[in-house]
Symmetry: none
DNA sequence: AATGAATGAGCCTTCATTCAT
DNA sequence: GATGAATGAAGGCTCATTCAT
């Protein structure tokens, strides 16, 4: 009775889930198929059978991570297109943080780690990340910022503002190890995450609105 | 007392310089001592003799990179403490970009790559980075932002604003591979670097000034 | 009594035919059951089911190759026992070349390759080759040479002459890769095959007749 | 004091000698570097260090085999250019047999096995074999046969006769396993080798002289 | 201070075979 | 009869490290 709507065999699914963790934590090269197979309790030859080779497994794991992340944290949650853009920006930032950096206690930010590793040593996985993760995210953010800035503003300016927003979120979570060493008080926690999200929201809104002011007067 | 006019043997110096490039470009694990020795034209056993092991060489190379970077791009260049804070923020951002991300054409952003790698897989090198690179940088930026915001603002707010500024610079350069795939027009170049630096400066100034307003009126 | 009109299941037959090609071209070890199964469009477990293991399939393929070869190129074709022995030797050499080395353009000399491989690393297949291929061939050739030499000549001499004839044919075709590298002009072709067959015939006839002469006078 | 004129380290030499045997007996693919290293009592990584990879070792072993074989059995031994061609052909055949097939009891015919394997599955080694082994051998034999046939005979005819001579020697020794199965009396031995060499010599001389006759009369 | 040689551990991959259905 | 999934045993190669000089 099990698995009646499960297109992935148990073994294959188990391997993919383990691989997601291991690849995120160790990177493509450092991760070993041996470790993955051991953790998944399968024979090492199973990788070749199900995924062809290590790279095939890596791409499968990356795509799986994306799928799960998008299902858990859809981009348009928490607001709808009729909401004012300020509110939608706030919702976007919170959702983006949850999706990319994880939010539940103990949940490891695998997707973010995969993205960062791909930026250091790009593989075919970068195309997956850009095409299926970054592009739709940028699209959603662009729409909000375009509405905040008004139609007269150039696309280039919108791109730059998108980068400023995304860049802030990346930094606060990605550079967490440094921040904790510098300021032990800012230890990661659910409430600290909310503080950061609020800061990014207001910092960005303030900046963007100033950009937009010239067109309306001042 | 030995080596009074030769604190580093030529061999050792040569190895360190090569290692800096190779470690930055390939990461700790992927870099091979064989390649480093070949490029430095030294015997493979020299690493063990001079640095103990691969990790010892890595730390030596990291420290060397920091020294060179700080000598080439001192933090306070381009302005002095008597300048208005807006101007000093602008100078800081430009200098930070040059130091961390490189500025000359073809120059590899070794220091940034080392930092990013340490963030993914912290080693002893992270202490070096935090203590000798990040802390003074944050200190300088904090001073500028504190002056912009006024004394009434909490240290926490200042830290958050520092993060927002640094985060933006990191993103634009670190995520360069993604940005190029998404927007081929924004290819990296000296002029594009200037555009980005100006954007970060005005975006941040706008945001910070808005933060500061409430205290003086509104 | 089953399979009265289907002694070999289609699947089994298909596998054998594919295996003959693959084993001849790649040798026993280098050939993979996976490739054979893929080319034959059968499941990989079918080999185990039908033939026990890889070696069983190999032997089956070898026997099939022999059967086909003998059906296509019967030994006594092109002449009959009433013909003069010179003519029969000529016919034998041509037929032997066709059978062992192939004659049609693009036809791979599978049987020869199998024989050569068995000579390098004898398996049970060598018994099949000796008993069902070599022995009748040697018998036919012996009869011709015996007639050419006369009854007084020892069996040992006949055996040596048989070896000389067979040896020449083997060399010219088997060492083809070397001959082409040494003398690019002697590239393999239908006409070149005929030139070689004629040479072997006259060379051998000349030699054998000289052998025979002493007995009749001089 | 040892090895004062020994350009090869003991280890390297040991590996090459073992590799020659193993590659000849098992072929390039079937031979394993693990077995070679075990027999040579060296670490498996020594192959990478000294020869780059398996193929490098293979080529080194092949060249070593050639060198040893040529030093032990120089082509022009047993006769000089002033001898009559009949005598020189006899000497050539005996020497060729010794060189390629081995002559001492228990001596394995490694060089022949290597050649045969290269003919089945050519690698870069075939170029070595053709260039450094086959070409000079054919050159020496050609000279003898040209003298036997006279200048009027075409180069093509000389090539064909060379092939006939070489082909016979190959067959008798290469097909030894079959010959022993067919005619147990013809077991390999020093005296049998002499019988074969004499047969090939007279068989070939008879044939070649008949070729040459037309030019002088008949 | 420096070197060439050697080592052992580990990695990815491939293959024939077998199991459960 | 036939299949997809799974297994264990090797195999070639790479790497950091160490040894003897």
């Amino acid at each position: 009775m099990k698995g009646q709507d499960n297109p992935l065999s148990d073994t294959k699914k188990r391997i993919i889930e383990v691989a997601g963790k291991v690849f995120a934590e160790s990177g493509f090269r450092n991760a070993t198929v041996r470790e993955i197979c051991k953790l998944a309790s399968v024979n090492i030859a199973a990788i070749n059978y199900h995924f062809g080779d290590k790279k095939g497994l890596y791409l499968a794991a990356l795509k799986h991570l994306r799928t799960v992340s998008f299902e858990q944290y859809p981009l348009d949650a928490g607001s709808d297109t009729s909401s004012p853009p300020e509110e939608r920006l706030k919702a976007f930032i919170m959702q983006f943080i949850k999706r990319i950096h994880g939010c539940r206690e103990g949940e490891s930010p695998w997707l973010r780690m995969m993205i960062i590793r791909e930026l250091m040593e790009p593989t075919e996985g970068l195309d997956v990340i850009v095409g299926e993760i970054v592009r739709p995210t940028f699209g959603a953010l662009s729409a909000i910022i375009r509405e905040l800035l008004g139609k007269q503003v150039s696309e280039k300016t919108i791109r730059l503002c998108c980068g400023s927003v995304i860049g802030q979120t990346f930094f606060f979570f990605y550079a967490q190890p440094i921040r904790e060493k510098l300021f032990p008080a800012d230890r990661s926690s659910t409430s600290e995450t909310k503080v950061i999200a609020d800061h990014i929201t207001s910092f960005s809104l303030n900046a963007i609105k100033s950009y937009a002011v010239p067109k309306k007067g001042r």
